[in-house]
Assembly symmetry: D3
Homo-oligomer: 269 residues x 6
């Protein structure tokens, strides 16, 4: 029923990548996985390509023959400049340039709310707000959003940038009550991003239907994303385990949380 014959998932061996392989979810008749680590337990419709994103030739091999890409790979938290540079900046260029050469039509990109982490928690922003990254990691996410905009405007490759909040089994701190994205909602969101007749270049915040929110996601309302989980289910448990925190602590003041409180990654602690 999918219009895609083969979808490539980068970062397939990571926590989010594995979620896209759960039974019942079938993004396309054929799925190709790629990661620097091999994936386990391949299903019949899955194939695996171990590759470094920084290696253009390997990326090109992985992309060739695919109609769409769910690009989850690259640095997943703050890291050294070299790591961010190679896996996220160079790696994402490699994915887009390979996609252009191979005629890929649509990419779902795992951006992050750390692209806008320096907005204050008392602000409500939508996808048109200027980016304010809170880390080199966040800078690389904003860069990829711009790169994908360029590949859409010039070459017509559609992208949905998902600014993923906190995608974990369950919320474990008070900020997660605002930013949590359940695995179930994540899978649904990737599906609707692939299914929508047209996405152009779009940025969507990606959280569950939490009562608290920093983000107004109406600019992505054409996607029809209908989250089913709400972090409030865990509210009492989280309140019991955690403190309210000092409102002037950068980790409490800004949307990016602890990323805003951290110093330069490579400085001695």
């Amino acid at each position: 029923m999918s219009k895609y014959n083969r979808v490539l998932i980068t970062g397939a061996a990571g926590a989010l990548g594995r979620q896209l392989r759960v039974s019942g979810l079938k993004l396309a008749p054929q799925i190709r996985l790629t990661d620097r680590f091999p994936s386990a337990d391949l299903a019949a419709h899955e194939e695996d390509r171990v590759a470094e994103l920084a290696d253009f030739g390997a990326v090109l091999d992985a992309v060739r023959g695919c109609d769409a890409i769910v690009h989850l790979g690259g640095q997943a938290i703050e890291g050294t400049w070299d790591s961010v540079l190679n896996s996220s900046i160079v790696g994402t260029y490699n994915v887009y340039e390979a996609a252009r050469q191979c005629g890929v039509k649509r990419i779902v990109y795992a951006s992050s709310i750390h692209a806008v982490g320096y907005y204050e928690r008392t602000q409500t922003i939508d996808a048109s707000a200027p980016t304010r990254p809170d880390s080199l990691y966040g800078v690389s996410k904003a860069y990829a959003e711009n790169l994908s905009r360029y590949y859409f405007d010039k070459f017509g490759i559609e992208t949905v940038c998902l600014r993923i909040g906190s995608c974990f089994p369950e919320p474990t701190d008070r900020r997660h009550l605002i930013t949590w994205l359940s695995y179930r909602d994540f899978r649904h969101l990737v599906e609707v991003c692939l299914d929508a007749p047209r996405v152009g270049h779009m940025i969507s915040f990606a959280t569950s239907a939490n009562s608290q929110s920093f983000w107004d996601n109406r600019l992505a309302s054409v996607l029809g994303y209908a989250p089913q989980d709400n972090a409030d289910t865990y509210r009492d448990a989280v309140f019991a385990r955690t403190e309210q925190g000092d409102p002037d602590d950068p980790a409490v003041r800004f949307q990016g949380g602890s990323f805003c409180a951290a110093g330069h990654f490579e400085d001695p602690a």
Copy 2:
């Protein structure tokens, strides 16, 4: 309980007009129907006047004695210039000028999303966005929105312009999953437009509570429109019967759908 003694329904013999006559819905103690075709099966509180909207005298006769109008009449899809001109442009002038002469207080006008059909599907607009009609039909809808604004600003006649999406028994293509308005929600919406203490001049998008949307309807939130249907109920059936489509096809790219893909109506095909 209605504050109106007699409500006039234009286009009463059409699909939407007939929906306002279903049992259980009573907009006023007396209902007058008008259309170029006669209406069947009149109830005790209904009377019928066959009239062409382009005939001012006939329209004046139909309007006289009514407190409010639900103006559904006129060209319902793209047509020749002559048809659009006479039934929608002249016809709607006749309705408003007759309303002014007869002291009508409020009009609910069936505008259309084709008044804004040239926005891209990836845009989310609200009622303050400049009109971008996708057809002569859409131009006539934008004209009527302006005409009614004028009659409110100068003469105080209140109007709600309903930008009706796709009002059919059920959604039958993928765009309908976004634009569908169920008959039940249409009836409820007309009721709240008549019941609201004050509407001034207002534009409201008119769809059911579909998960996908192009439109942010918060500027009409005073109406209290609470749709109960969601096109997603039909999603799997629609997906099974239809293709995703080419995202660069104007029918997929723009909110107006196939109206944007069509050429000039009178050109040889």
Copy 3:
């Protein structure tokens, strides 16, 4: 579980103040009440201080030893200039200046929608819209919003200004169908205002989840306020008892309702 040791409630003997003392709601281990009238039936964790808000020394005594304040006191409807001046303008200054001297961290302030009562009912506003008070009472509310902004910007005292709609046991007129705030939702809202890790200076509209609304509250979405009541429950009863009203009556035209229709309070009627 609260991070506050002692919360002060001003206006504690009034209708809203009493709602914050219902069983099951515990804003802090210790609650101090203050009002010009004594409160009845003190619980073990409650103490009471009778005081006039216009008396700075009395206010300072009431504030000393508290971590947070729910400031409900002062003129609750339109009154004479002297009354507004003393209880609301001077009284609120006294509360904030005492809070500064005593190191209070957060204040929940009962502002009112009469601070923006002169917007038309057909407009939808959010908390960034310029204030347009409809009464001296409303002027005093806008003043307090500015005063609290100043105390946050210069001295770091956090405030949530709740623009309370119509907080009564149930809606009794058609405007209440839009503006009603149930007691249950009021209590929940005060709780989340105290619980949120950071509120900075924030303005939140305060109504139940009514179908009709004048207000877009997304700028306060970080609070996670999840109202459970909807005035529509009372719609049929209210419609049966009331008239629709003249849309050009200031009481119907403007959001502030009858406050906009009233003349100067001290003029002979």
Copy 4:
């Protein structure tokens, strides 16, 4: 030097049309004039076609062979519905449809500030503000702006809609100090509209560089319109001859001036 071979001017015998024929202004090597009245004193590069705009065949003849059109024809002030309908609504359709059939690339259209005449004088609007016509004349101008938008979005015909203020030899009342467009600035503006490499569909307010203004014209800043006249030159003379007026008179309150104070054109005075 012009890229156009032949430019058509409609309404050529009117006051504005004659301004485009003054010596020194040469919009194209060949100019064709059309009006219901003949033009006098044709220059060597001018030809004249007497035609009614309501006559499609005559309009088609006038348009054939032209590259661009300056469309000044049609009702120039408020008139009867029949006059507005025929000369402005039907007439402008005829011009655009003829332009489509003949491959015309660009049209400069004389819209009017009466398309937005019901904004208050104390408001500053730009070209994205919803239209609020103050007359049937103004409704026809808003209609033509929509029609031209449609012909651009579907057929690629570029248009600049000039919302002309008060284009007279000099300002004669206090409102003209705000709305005046000198003949010199009008001619320059038409030139830049024809010269600009790309205009798409654009709306530009058209006044001289008056100190007072209702309009923020920055959305048309790509045109490079650089007015040289300022109504303030006439301020003392105008003040000497006129009264300030009652600020609550609709003619003083609204941008459209006396158009807003007038009743229905066809009513007995």
Copy 5:
């Protein structure tokens, strides 16, 4: 030539008040002055009334018989709460209530940029930005803006609130290069505020035509204020005498300058 018979100037003995009495400026045939101090050298068309603004009876006497008021009186810089309360909060209420009782049509009010002093210098705001006062003085200015809005919305008294920057003979520090208002431009601005046919309720920033600015004044463009002075004339002199300052000093960071760096006025230094 003025439409006013008698204009009242409050704060007439202060620096700004004296500027409105210079030769050549004639706001009305009769001028009444009022201040807590007497004015010297009365011209033939001037009369003087010594009065405290906090004394309603005295204010009423001063206002009676006047058509318009230029309200400059009250606390001119930060002061004690009692002083701000009496001269600015109570005093301005007295002026507006007296104006209502006496049928005054228009008031020009000397507000201050300290009503918005807590915006950062790197922000550009217009008159629709929420107020952010930087002092009790600034709170009283924001209060008066709200009070005058109320008196316009309910009673129709027009007001222009002038958010005066730094009105001195010449700029003396680097912030003045941004905020300076020359005496000449101040006088011109008061004139156009009185002359404009309609001002409704309007807020205008009041500076000279300085190259640097924090404020976008286009919402007041109907006034036709055309400043002639530019603080840049003094740039080299000011740079020679002053330091650039620490960009993180509140006096440099915020628009309100030193008002933002000061503590509570009544605290021991």
Copy 6:
């Protein structure tokens, strides 16, 4: 008079870098130049460091001892990915990280309008519009704007990003009439960026005072940039030499001009 002791200019041997060395312009008592090519004719207050921006150690040496940086270095037009990556992406990281380690307070960064090149020419944007790069070069400029925002939000290093238009001796095509920045205005703009008491993180468009414009620069109005040149001086000469162009050519349609019409840099032509 400058508050800086030593300013570093990167890209000092390029066309723009040389403009900052003209006689009469003195940004600081000491100027250090760096480029991959040596600079000629050093003045007494100048020193030169030949360095590759991609070499962090060399950059650190160049930055050490400087108070401010004018960062002009890196790829100046579209280039291969490797060139953009090394000179602009890695190079600019090196400059900011060295600045952080060395305590530099302010950086003036030569961004480019190619960061927003895919806006249509008929749009007017300001600095808050989302970036839409038209080339890998433009992507690298948007990246640097984000990187500098991060270094300001986390480490307090101030930056003005100058989105430079077409900085050449004179305009040579019709698009330059819109985008031209004269050398004189460029020098003045760098001066005011260094002189302003506080710039925080700011984006300023950088063109001369051309009559035509795509950009509304009011968000940078605190800089006090007062351009003196206007491309219109060259209008007749440019029109004589050039064609108007096809409005649908991407080079004419988009703000980025020929960058938008070009394909992938490394593809065979």
